[in-house]
Symmetry: none
Amino acid sequence: MISARGRPRSREIGDRIVAATLALLAESGYSALTLEGIAKAAGVARPTIYRRWPGKAALVADVLADSIPPLVLPDTGDAVGDLMTAAVEFIVTMSESPYGPVAYGLLAEAHHDDELANHLQRAYVAARVVSVLGLIERAQHAGRLAGDIPPDVVRDIVFGPLIFRWLVAGQPMDRCNARRLVEIAFRAVESR
Amino acid sequence: MISARGRPRSREIGDRIVAATLALLAESGYSALTLEGIAKAAGVARPTIYRRWPGKAALVADVLADSIPPLVLPDTGDAVGDLMTAAVEFIVTMSESPYGPVAYGLLAEAHHDDELANHLQRAYVAARVVSVLGLIERAQHAGRLAGDIPPDVVRDIVFGPLIFRWLVAGQPMDRCNARRLVEIAFRAVESR
Amino acid sequence: MISARGRPRSREIGDRIVAATLALLAESGYSALTLEGIAKAAGVARPTIYRRWPGKAALVADVLADSIPPLVLPDTGDAVGDLMTAAVEFIVTMSESPYGPVAYGLLAEAHHDDELANHLQRAYVAARVVSVLGLIERAQHAGRLAGDIPPDVVRDIVFGPLIFRWLVAGQPMDRCNARRLVEIAFRAVESR
Amino acid sequence: MISARGRPRSREIGDRIVAATLALLAESGYSALTLEGIAKAAGVARPTIYRRWPGKAALVADVLADSIPPLVLPDTGDAVGDLMTAAVEFIVTMSESPYGPVAYGLLAEAHHDDELANHLQRAYVAARVVSVLGLIERAQHAGRLAGDIPPDVVRDIVFGPLIFRWLVAGQPMDRCNARRLVEIAFRAVESR
DNA sequence: CGTTAAACGAGACGGTACGTCATGTCTTCGA
DNA sequence: TCGAAGACATGACGTACCGTCTCGTTTAACG
């Protein structure tokens, strides 16, 4: 077993780094983010950050995973209602959070950076995707969703328009708009 | 009339810059892109680039606008079929092109950079969005799409899932997968 | 004979270049001087300057030669008095002119730049040195200066301390201080 | 006492910068000198130089102060002889060194650049001037020099002609010529 | 309770790129 | 042909971060 010799890492310092990263990220976005700036804002030496993360992308990936709230998956028994609520809450949270665009910027970068892609996949995407697929399957078993559509396609149909409207079309997503969009999207996957 | 005084800019040099930018972009993505590198690859001096574009973001925005093919909008008389074809061709082109992720990375950055946002809006988004809305309206008038759904919502329903599946879920979009997804999405907006 | 074909050079433009050079030289010195700045200040295009002078050093050498007043050599019959007056007037003029230090900076540079050295020698130094040597010889013939000291040594003895005090020691040279210094220096070369 | 925090500066690197500066200075003079070139020659990154000196002028001022030998002030008991020797050795050293003209170029520039003036004054001039004034005073007390001439004037009388002959008149100063010139200059300040 | 090994701050260092400026040459147009 | 205007390759400027590396100091856990 590995005995933890020497001075252990201070949890508080890690927290300060994360907090500073979030603050700067919200202020000016990913590409303007600097480890130098984070270090200064956190009152920490630069090598201390490198001791914990291999670089900017990994740091941000972790920070986002910690800070962007996971999908809230209610469980009222009404699987379809739960799914709609989850989708609406998801996009509202995203669009209110300063970190949403950052996450999507990273996803785009990830297409050119395998290491980053893995990091994101592991720390961020996985947790959110798996859980929603479970919910979708429950809704299908309850007979409320067309059973011949694979769960991941349902996911795309439900979440895709929301993301698109917010990220690409640049329209604000309040709870009301989001719900209307979700309701229309749902028509595609309802059993009939 | 304004007489063009002084030595005129060489068109060929501009072309070389654009070509080099595209090549490097495809190779290693936006964040690894360097004006220094572009200049070297184009056999051009760095100040020559700055004379034409104010910076990396603006250059890339222009280059993408020039290089990513605009929406192909067929006109066979079958407005719904045309819309589906346009959507499928769009996502296939995107996912085959090395520049797709770059464009979406920029869209995300634009949320923190108003200047970039304007550039992109003007040079890239506008042309693509307006034309597809016209097509959607024609389909609605033809009675094939539900008339009570605003055209921009139709756009989100049709394009959103494609983008999501490709960019977020990271799944390859061949013509066949794309068509299936579009067909399902269309159920949400068909008149019934 | 050379027939002057094409549009003749404008004398006025040359004058404007010289004037602008002098002004900028006085303001900020030689090393901060730019052809770009001169062109702008003179309302002239840069290539127009290059058509007349090969570069900054040559331009400045010419300008100084034109602008720093030549040695004033009075001729009252009293050769020794004339020499003293000439020396005093010389250093006072130098130290009051903004161009004095520039000239000495160039002299120093000339030790590493033969072309500049020739330019300066021809345009600036020669005229001043030769005339004073003549004056010294007259004083020697009049029996007022020791005859066994070569004229150029007399020149060094008389002018050297003035230059040194002003340039190296950085002391202001008003007419009164200068005269005192000259009088003492003269003791070295007077006949006794 | 101030504890030296952080990684200490490497003495060896500083030495390499100074050496490279000297070499390039001797080769091509001050105005052709480039921090870029120094960095390359020293095998050092450019920012490393800026960490130690604010710019080219300051670097060169320091380098000269370190490298141009200070006045050698012999002390044989014969104050006048010592002064003459010091003057001769000084100008011979200067005229043999490649850095002499550089120093005088800087002195001229300093008239337009207060910061440089201070640097030079502090690092270069001060040490040399003060010591020679002491020697002059001793010679005056020994009754060998006219007591009614301020020491700084004696300095100007003795050193001025040497500098002038070498820098302005451009004549080589071997030990023999220098001594002859000094002997004549001394006549001006000897007690009689 | 002292050892000891790692964490930590500070900051130097070789790099790389930035965005700007000036150079000297060139092309184009109008006078 | 001159002159203005300005493009262009070149190359240096001074600055900002990068990721790595010494340092001296602090802090626990272990022996």
